[in-house]
């Protein structure tokens, strides 16, 4: 992270982008700090890749200003910008070996052969590919290609490293490993990383801050825990994980909000439980599955409790997900239980008592 009074490394003000009639970016305004791990998260077609390519210089903004390191980037082509990119396809040059790929960007730096050699070697060591210099491009696995792409970009010590869904082509185990490594690498080199992803879990794990995008617009910018706990809208809440919504009536009452949840009664929420603004009248309360619990055989709870029946059960090994139909509530609610020793897994049709803490509720306007 930067010192508090340094100017942001990247400043986007009112950036719009049209392709013909299609409005790909809608007045995007965003600051990204020096040294941050920043993610652009959204469904496919939301404009996140267009935004990344605009920063890289492959697309020109139709209007608006993009400042990078204090300089206006208008008319500066990709090859003159202090950014480097890791492409979704990795874009490893197939006719060059690993060393030549990594050394490619150093061609015009006027380095001696020894300096070049050292730099490439260091970059390969950094991504865990020591000794792979002579390997042909087509002999690399997916994970290795991705590392070569990283080394090739990082060897130039850019101000910003841009990553376009770099992990989407990898299988699950490899993806989890690379997530850890990318985080470690970013802490090590201290360069600003901007990651484009459609995977909310990936964004949550890796980022310092996340910008959620829908249809060319930025919907919310926040740190992972804030984004998950206090999503600004139902749409965001649904995109970042799972949330149960129940219709309710909200009555603001000085600092707090009284909420009458259909079928479940009254609860009193703090104003900070309304991240999208305090509603008045018809509203929805949301609650995450892990914030509700099943009470087993005579367990008691100081929190709110309701009676219901288990409608569906999914055993995931570490967790069990239940769809529970609560008395008086129209739609079943989904809740998750950690499978610890001695805790049974209930089956479909069994009666269930569900408890939750009103502090876990989030209130949204309709």
């Amino acid at each position: 992270m930067s010192t508090p009074n340094a100017p942001p490394l990247i400043q986007l003000s009112d950036v719009d982008k049209y392709y013909g009639d299609y409005h790909a970016l809608r007045s995007v305004t965003l600051d990204i700090e020096q040294g941050e791990f920043f993610s652009l998260l959204g469904p496919s077609g939301c404009g996140k890749t267009t935004l990344l390519r605009t920063i890289a210089g492959f697309e020109d903004a139709s209007s608006g200003v993009l400042m990078l390191g204090g300089e206006n980037m208008k008319g500066v082509p990709a090859n003159k910008r202090p950014t480097n990119m890791v492409f979704q396809s990795y874009a490893i040059f197939p006719h060059l070996n690993v060393f030549e790929n990594v050394a490619f960007g150093l061609r015009k730096k006027g380095l001696s052969a020894t300096e070049k050699d050292t730099k490439v070697r260091d970059a390969l060591a950094m991504v865990g590919l020591d000794g792979y210099g002579d390997r042909a491009a087509h002999a690399l696995s997916g994970g290795q290609r991705q590392r070569v792409a990283l080394a090739r970009a990082l060897v130039l010590q850019p101000k910003v490293l841009l990553l376009d869904e770099p992990l989407s082509a990898l299988d699950k185990k490899m993806r989890e490993q690379m997530q850890t490594e990318l985080r470690r690498l970013q802490r090590q080199v201290g360069i600003t990383f901007i990651l484009v992803t459609h995977d909310q879990e990936e964004a949550l794990i890796m980022s310092d801050r996340i910008a959620v995008m829908f249809e060319g617009e930025i919907a919310q910018v926040a740190a992972p825990q804030t984004l998950y706990r206090r999503p600004a809208s139902q749409k965001i809440a649904n995109f970042i994980g799972v949330m149960n919504f129940m219709p309710a009536t909200a009555t603001p009452a000085g600092g707090v909000v009284n909420v009458d949840i259909a079928g479940l009664g009254i609860a009193t929420l703090d104003a900070d439980q309304c991240p999208g603004g305090v509603p008045n009248g018809a509203a929805h309360v949301g609650i995450r599955p892990e914030m509700m619990s099943l009470l087993f055989y005579g367990e008691t709870s100081t929190a709110s409790v309701a009676q219901g029946v288990i409608e569906e059960q999914s055993y995931y090994g570490d967790m069990t997900y239940y769809d529970v139909r609560l008395e008086g509530v129209s739609d079943p609610v989904t809740l998750s239980m950690k499978n610890i020793v001695g805790r049974p897994v209930l089956e479909r049709g069994e009666a269930a008592r569900v408890s939750w803490d009103p502090r876990a509720l989030v209130l949204f306007g309709n």
């Binding site: 890289a56 210089g57 492959f58 082509p77 990709a78 090859n79 950014t83 480097n84 990119m85 492409f87 979704q88 396809s89 874009a91 040059f93 197939p94 006719h95 490619f104 960007g105 061609r107 015009k108 087509h138 090739r152 970009a153 130039l156």
Partner: protein, 267 residues
């Protein structure tokens, strides 16, 4: 299905028999092309070797074929790159019209070229008029082949090179060109072959120096020259097999490099 397959195989063998007979009579010790064979000889090849007019025709044909291959491939690169990279009005129809000589009778092409060159432009017929004409019929093939090659180049590779500091020109030289090289070689080989084999246009446009097919045409007036033609044909079959193998080698290398599945297409 089985019976049909055997029938197809037999028919193929029958079809290809004439080509298989070429080497048979090329080494047969008789001026008459007939069974039974009368003995083994290298004589017809020696005769070929000792005919200066044939040497001149071969040299002429090779010069024309090489020049045609280079020109049509250069044109093909320009057209295919324009087709792959730029959008312009009427792009599809224009690229389509370029393909017309591909399906036009060569005799028509030959006649209209002859008229243009001799009657309208009043040029001397020369080796270079044949090169121009052959470039005309080879360019569609070059474009078809190079189109495929350029379309297979992943745009992100070119973007990556730009991103790493190269200019568009040096990106073309360092990335695009090496990646389409198998296509370029294919295009060179195929234009070379087409030009080397073409008879009718060369026949119309030839000045004082005949090409090899035109020279063979001339030989056919003399029945006793037939075995020499068979020997020449045998050499050409060998050359064809070699060229085909090279073309296939580069096609496969191109497919492998581009990381595509080999769909076994030939051109």
């Amino acid at each position: 299905m089985k019976g049909l397959r055997i029938y197809a195989l037999a028919y193929l063998l029958f079809l290809y028999a004439p080509i298989l007979l070429l080497p048979l009579f090329a080494f047969n010790n008789s001026t008459i092309i007939a069974f039974p064979l009368s003995g083994f000889t290298f004589g017809w090849f020696v005769e070929l070797w000792e005919t200066p007019a044939l040497h001149a025709a071969v040299k002429n044909s090779l010069l024309i074929a090489v020049a045609t291959a280079v020109f049509s491939t250069l044109l093909g690169i320009c057209a295919a790159r324009a087709g792959a990279k730029y959008e312009f009005p009427l792009k599809r129809p224009i690229l389509g019209l370029i393909m017309v000589p591909l399906v036009l009778p060569e005799i028509i092409v030959g006649v209209s070229l002859l008229i243009v060159v001799v009657q309208l432009l009043d040029w001397q017929l020369s080796t270079w008029t044949i090169v121009a004409a052959h470039t005309l019929i080879c360019t569609p093939f070059s474009i078809a082949i190079l189109n495929g090659a350029f379309q297979n180049v992943d745009t992100s590779l070119e973007e990556a090179a730009l991103d790493l500091g190269e200019t568009p020109l040096s990106t073309f030289r360092l990335i695009t060109l090496p990646l389409v090289m198998p296509g370029v070689i294919s295009s060179l080989l195929i234009s070379f072959t087409i030009s080397l084999d073409e008879f009718i246009i060369a026949f119309f446009l030839t000045g004082s120096d005949p090409t090899m097919p035109v020279y063979i045409w001339g030989l056919l007036r003399f029945p006793q020259k037939l075995p020499a033609v068979m020997a020449l044909g045998t050499l050409l079959v060998l050359l064809s097999i070699i060229l085909l193998s090279i073309a296939e080698y580069f096609r496969r290398r191109g497919v492998r490099r581009a990381g595509l599945k080999d769909t076994g297409g030939f051109l």
